[in-house]
Symmetry: C2
Subunit: 240 residues, 2 copies
DNA sequence: CTGATAACGTGATGCCGGTCACACGCAGTT
DNA sequence: AACTGCGTGTGACCGGCATCACGTTATCAG
């Protein structure tokens, strides 16, 4: 087994541990075996670009290890980060299904393992395995749902503080810290990147953090952030 | 044949003229016949609400006649109109597939004919007709694509003028007026509604129109708008 | 025709937040 | 240690646009 970029490659989807709760989960073994024959297990270093918005779709990328930044960017270079994809996600799915250009750019932020499937192979696979096709429809619904939330937050939440508060709450609910009184979360992103996630400027993010610290809502411990006043944060997220 | 709300009801999907280029187009006749048995042809007056965001999904609504406003709204009443759906579109699809709540609200703006299909019936239909399932995946991709464009316009286009220009160009490209030197388009929406489409205030829309008229970019002829300087409008749409 | 109601037009005001500018701390490098 | 790059903190400025307020047209029922 090769291990480029310090990765331990997951060889087979049949034995992959995360498959129970992910995309190609409860598919019949025959479908999974068929999938094995068309996928290319590949590894990427940090900072690699899987695809760029506007490219015509080459196929899907199933993320197995590492994180991938999904973003769109304007002609003037302004960038909006839509999400940081985690293992289990299928990238480039909608473009591959519809044949239209990729609608966003995917770039690794860690060394990643990815299973790539060529468009023609994938479409044939879908035609032959109707249960997989239904799974894909579910996945796409999920993605659409997320996009709607993004639209809501961009279009209706006016203040930047509101969006930042929402983002922090969302993050804290991922690491199983949701229930805790004072959830902690690692800030793996720079202020610049956080700004790009909520569509504001770096300076504004810095100022918002300073303000929240002053008001005892959060507290920094090195690169981890402690939410000291969850109620106040929720208020920020809904209110002004 | 009944004709409520002044509608001539389309009785069967098998003979519907628009089916060639729409969702349940080149499906085998067997699938279409099966669809016939589970759909409920219904009529709605203007202003009827098909579903509200947050409701758990009852099923899909295939729009046959009339237009439907799709919107999301904030707790404070602020509303964002995502699009005005036209005949041929399938509404509530993603929620019905995923089982999650409807992510937006659908309200008729004209008297409408709608084919409703209950969720259980529809899911069964998809399991039994894999080609329909693939169609659904394509539809969802399309919707996801649109949502991405919406995100781009909300997140990256900063000025309100830019968004209005984009909207006008988009509208003019629908009525086959795209190629013309001076495209015309009917403004079927109030300034208030236009404002809700681009996430700004009514007054700003009024002011922008006034400005564009002063600069000879557009011209109002009653309720139709003539684009006199398409180049300038495109500049507005990309630039500042 | 006429009153009511909705839509439109337009000024005044204020604030959020984008942008510019610069200083500071903190790696890693040579 | 000095240099370099990158991320962060902070002040100053100011422009776009939301908001309020009010006047002026449309639209339509009766």
């Amino acid at each position: 087994m090769i291990s480029p970029y310090g990765l331990d490659i997951i060889e087979s989807c049949l034995t992959c541990k995360m498959r129970v709760d992910r995309i190609f989960c409860d598919l019949p073994t025959s479908a999974l075996q068929s999938f094995e024959t068309i996928k290319y297990a590949t590894a990427y270093p940090k900072g690699a670009v899987l695809f760029v918005e506007g490219q015509s779709p080459r196929g899907i990328f199933v993320l197995c290890k590492g994180r991938v930044k999904l973003s769109i960017c304007a002609t003037d270079g302004k960038t909006l980060i839509l999400k940081i994809a985690e293992p289990g996600e299928v990238l480039g799915l909608s473009a591959t299904v519809s044949g239209k250009p990729y609608e966003l750019t995917a770039e690794t932020v860690d060394p990643c393992q990815v299973n790539f499937v060529k468009r023609e192979d994938f479409l044939r696979f879908l035609k032959e395995h109707s249960d997989a096709c239904f799974k894909v429809a579910e996945q796409l619904s999920e993605k659409y749902n997320n996009a709607c939330h993004e639209v809501r937050s961009l279009g209706l939440s006016h203040s930047a503080g509101e969006k930042l508060a929402k983002l922090l709450l969302e993050w804290s609910s991922k690491n199983g810290e949701a229930a805790k009184q004072e959830p902690r979360l690692k800030l793996a992103l720079t202020h610049e990147e956080i700004a790009q996630m909520i569509g504001t400027s770096r300076e504004t993010v810095t100022r918002l953090f300073a303000d929240m610290k002053k008001r005892q809502i959060v507290q920094a411990k090195g690169s981890t952030l402690v939410i000291r006043n969850k109620a106040a944060l929720k208020l920020m997220a809904t209110n002004n």
